[in-house]
Structure formats: structure tokens, C-alpha cells
Symmetry: D3
Subunit: 134 residues, 6 copies
């Protein structure tokens, strides 16, 4: 049984590698490398996998999961610049793929290892990624 | 190959355990334990997994699947109070998790065992569960 | 210039007139008159109409509007039974139309008369109403 | 008869007034005034109002309207920082309200005056504005 | 007070004028004039405007409106070729604009003149029209 | 890590087997066998599965995937009649299942074998299929 909680945050970012020239960055990352940043409404879906507790009928209390996502993810990244403000992305290009990995790692530390964990992140209506751990 | 049919029903429910005090119920289930019930537009997605029939090009006839969901699930639960009206939830807390299990069990009896079956139930835009059998 | 804030609440309700027989209620209100209630995820969109403040660039501060909807509407109706728990519907059938009128009246008292006000309420993906005052 | 075309763009922005202190900006604009910007997937709906051409059955050719929105709005603002990159917002706080006014003014110059024009801009799933001209 | 009912139908169509050459049709209607037709999932929203009945709390019974749309619109156009199968479009180019006019005219005959009527038709996620009568 | 790109195309189709009578076709395929075709807005989601490139932070460049879907799928099927115009469906009933298989096969040839590939196709808001290869 998997349960899923959906939350959103709004952030600025830029894709580039500091050791590359502007031309190389533009060639590889296109308009996503624009120097003054752009931004997205990120949609995060967190899937937790485990057995149903026979007493409560819950896999995990969604109020607890909601609070966890709020504290670990939304408060950290909402209305932030992922490149400039967030140490989690130091040296890491904030692609949707890497955002999903970072979110998965932050939540994995806080969710009991007996539960499976999968993170979906959508950057736009057309682009999303799914990460379930290495 | 998996095919999916999406249907909806509207029902009232309440989360609580009768052997617990009101305080304990409120502590564990929060506002979901409110005594006079509240309700949701439940979204059910039924996934059936099997090979494509080379004659029809169907895994399963969606008209048949639609009718089955209508008769077994929608007519049973739509515009009902899951706690008071539905014997399927006698002694079972109608959490989204348990609703998915009940729907899966009802459909599993009616869908040929050669097909895989997975049920997704969304309670709100933010909460959903996925159940594919024990 | 109109601005809109969207919020949701989950409630139980039943359509019926107490002076009518069960048969008459079933005839007029169909399965919506089921005695043990059913429920919905209500989607509320509040439109406020006015000029842009040249200093802030806002018609009205959306944080203020969000808090107002939260306090006046969501806390009042979320996870409630509209028929049994909410004095606003005493003697009033909680149709989507009447829910929109009640929400409009509650907000109208709290929003400066210099602003226009329109309330949209959706009961399901297929049914919604729009109310802008008498 | 009104026709509507929907497009999206992704941009960074920040709400603040340069003559105010950081404290004052934070007080009025909250986390939207964060100095390093944040961003959104903006959804733009452009409504054009006019009679149906009896030959084509069109109010206006949607391919023409699509190209116009693309050239005037999307190429100008997509993957940009509205505060730093876009002269249209020099001295103008890039609130959703002001974004709608700027888009309306840019399109109004390019769409024949015989047509009505209304612009809807959504900043998030919960916030949107509607502007139809002064 | 306006109430709205949403329904969908799936149809094939082609935009062209029979008195024009293929080149002229392609020039004006682009890929929409492709001779072997293409198709859409049309979304129809019907808005009915009137006072709330003090007895029922309804503007109009949505079951009645649903049945009317089903009988007059969906059964007529669903899984049809608008150009070849539907006499309502004889000599009329089945643009979204004209589809909205035809639907409005069909429903206007069946809905009491004391009610206002507005029809929204979406052809895709990006294109829609609104028609409220001449 | 899976990434997903969503695109849409609009096409006409008809479900039938040429060796069957009209009655047999109607019996098996219902209104989907209507001789003059009907149509849909097909939604295609392409999932590509692989490791994150440590240099770019991408599994696969979404601009490349977008262009590939555009060239191989959208240009081929958009505004077409799948039965009459598309050799890929010669002798193949264009059910959603078979459309997903055809799209998967077309993309599989063009995407490096080191990547996993899964295709989701939705025919309507209620019907979709998932295909990940034999």
C-alpha cells in the first residue's frame, strides 16, 4: 500500500556549470541558463510505502507526513533561489532530477526505514521526474 | 500493458474507533473524527494489467470495466455514509487506505484472475493511495 | 481588475425539506436526500474587484484575503456537517447555490464595500455556481 | 462571442519597493520580497471578443493569436527575471495584477480595436487575476 | 446566480469551405483542413442564470439540466463526424465558435426564457470559446 | 530515476475489423465503430529511465526528448485520421492500447537502449493506458 501527499513550492533557479563559459552553458542548458534566473511552481508528490496499521487504518498519519514535508521541504525551498540560498544545491545543478534526489535524501532521514519512499517532482505541466532511491 | 478507468463518487465518512474516548479519537484522527461526519469527492482509478487481445486490440473492453466499476463500486458507495450505510466498512475505519482495499477486494472477485489489478483512490487533491493486493 | 483566491473544504450535507415526506424528498432531490448524508470536496473561488493600489501593486493583499477565507469560511465549514453543525444553514437547504450565498454574505461583511465581490463554488468536477450578490 | 487562448511562461520575480527598508518590504510583501528572487509558472489566458466572421467561422484566427502571444509575451518574459531583465517592469512592482496590465497593454497595441480584450494571469493554482482594461 | 454543468463529447471534424481550392483551405485553416478529418474531446460548460427557488434552493434542477445536455447535445454529437453526420452543421464550418452557437441554439429552445444561457466550449486545453447569445 | 515529458495530439479514428459485418463491429466496439470516424485529444506521456549524468544533472536532455516526440509522434499523428492516413496502423485497430504500442516502438528505435522507456496514452479524462515494452 502506497500513500501520497502533494505539496507545492515556488522557487527561482538557473542551470549552469560555473567552470563553463556562457556560450557552453547556453548551448547545453539553453534558456534555462539565463544568468538572472527564472522560476517555477514546483509540485512535489511524496509516496510512502508500507503496511496498513490495523488500529488506525493508516499507513502513516498524513498530518505527520504533511508536517514533515512542510518543515523539511517547503520551508527550506519555498520563495527561495535554489542556486543562491540553498546549501543543499552547493555544487549541484538544480535540475528537476537533482531536486528530486535532494528532497528524497532530506525525507529519507526523517521517515522510518521500514517505509519505502518515492518522490515525484514536476517543474511544469509538461516535465516531471520520479526518484525512488539508488 | 495496463489500462485505467477513472470514476468518482461522493460519500460521507468519519474516522474513529468506537472503543476509544472522544478525546483519544480527536487526538489520533483530528478533525476527521468529527461526530457528525464530513465528506469527499472520491476519485477511483482502476488499473487492469494483461496482454492485448490481438483480435480487438483491447486488454479488456472498457465498456465492461466501466459497467463493473459502476455496479460494484459507484452504486454501492455514491451518496452514502460509509460508516452507517455500507456493511463493507463494518468494523473497518474508512480511511482512504481501507477504501482502496475494499474496492480492490470487490473488483478482484469480478475480474478474471489472469489480469493484474491495482486501485488508486484520491480523497482530496492532495491525498491519494495506491493498492495492488497483498 | 479582479483578483481571485481559491480554497477548498470538505463537508457532509443532505438536501431535503423537513416538512416533506421521504418520498417527496427523494422525488425532488434524488440521492442527494439520502438520510445519512453524503459529502463533497467543495472548491471556493473568491473574486475581489477593485483598482490596483499604486504603491503595492495589489488590489488587495492576497495574504489578507487568504486569512479571511480561512477564518470565515474554511474553519467554519471544513470537516463539518452543513445540516447539523452549521447555524448558517438552519432552515436553509445546503444546495451549492445556497452555500455560495452564505459564503458571499459572510465575506461581504468583512471586505470593504469599495470592493466588488463574487463567489464561485464547485461541488464536483461537473457542477458549480457563481454568485455576485443580489 | 469570446475566444480564449492559453499559454504559459516561467519567470523569476521579487516584490519590493526600492525606497523602502528591507523590514518594511518584508512586512508588506512577506516572503515575496526575498532578495534573491523566487519564481512561478505563469498561466496566461487571452480572451478576444468580437463577432464571428461568416466566411471562416472564426472570431480571430487562433494561429494568429497564438503567434501574437508567443512573440509579444512568451518570448519577452519566458525564462526571464521580471525585475532585472524586463524594461516593461521598470519602476513597476511585478505583482500578478501589474503583470496582467502589462500583458494587456502589449496585446492591445497589436489587436484590432474592434475586438474586446481581457487577460487572465494565474501565478499559482490558488491565485489569479483578471484585467479587461481601464 | 449562475449554475454550470460540465459535459464532454468526442467528435471528428474538418475546417474547410467547399467552394475553395485545397490550397486556399490549407492556407486559411492550416492542418485543421486536412481532408480525412481529425478530432477532439470537446468540453461543454452550460451556464444557466436565474433566481434561486426558495423551496428547493435550486436555480434549476441539475439532474434536469444534465439530462437535457445529454439528450440534446451529447447523444447528437458524441462519437460523430460533425461535417458528415450532423445536419446542424450543413453549410456551417464546425469551428469551436460555430459549435458553441449551435449548442446554444439547441439548448435555448429547451430552457425556459426566464433563464439566461451561456455556453463555453473547449476544443483543447489551450483553446476555448464563450457564447451568450446575439 | 525516471523523467517524463507530456505532449498532446488531436486525431480521428474508428475501431472496427474490416472482415466483420457492421453489426458485429457495433456489437463489439459500440459507438467507437461509427463509420465516419470520431476523434480525441490524445495525451502522451513518455517516461525515460536511467542514471543522472553527473555533469549536466540530466537523465536525458528534455529539449532532445521534446524534439524527438515532436518529430516522431506529433508530426506523424497530429490532425490525422489514424485509420486512413497512418501506415503504422495498417491492419492494426487504433485502440489506445495499440496507439501506445506504436508510439513505444517508434521511440524505442530512437532512444539509446541504455534507457528504459514507458509510454502512457490517455484517450479521454477517464481512459488511459500504460505500456513499457513486451
Amino acid at each position: 500500500m502506497k500513500i501520497c501527499r502533494r505539496e507545492t513550492f515556488n522557487a527561482a533557479h538557473r542551470l549552469f556549470r560555473s567552470e563553463w563559459s556562457d556560450e557552453k552553458n547556453r548551448e547545453v542548458f539553453g534558456k534555462c541558463s539565463h544568468p538572472n534566473y527564472h522560476g517555477h511552481n514546483y509540485v512535489v508528490e511524496v509516496f510512502v510505502d508500507g503496511p496498513i496499521d490495523p488500529i488506525t487504518g493508516f499507513v502513516i498519519d498524513l498530518k505527520v507526513l504533511k508536517t514533515l514535508i512542510q518543515e523539511e521541504i517547503i520551508e527550506r525551498f519555498d520563495h527561495r533561489n535554489l542556486n543562491l540560498d540553498c546549501k543543499e544545491f552547493e555544487g549541484i545543478n538544480p535540475t528537476t532530477e537533482n531536486i528530486a534526489v535532494v528532497i528524497w535524501q532530506l525525507l529519507r532521514k526523517k521517515i522510518d526505514a521500514k517505509f519505502g519512499l518515492e518522490v515525484h517532482v514536476a517543474e511544469t505541466e509538461k516535465n516531471k521526474v520520479i526518484f525512488g532511491g539508488e
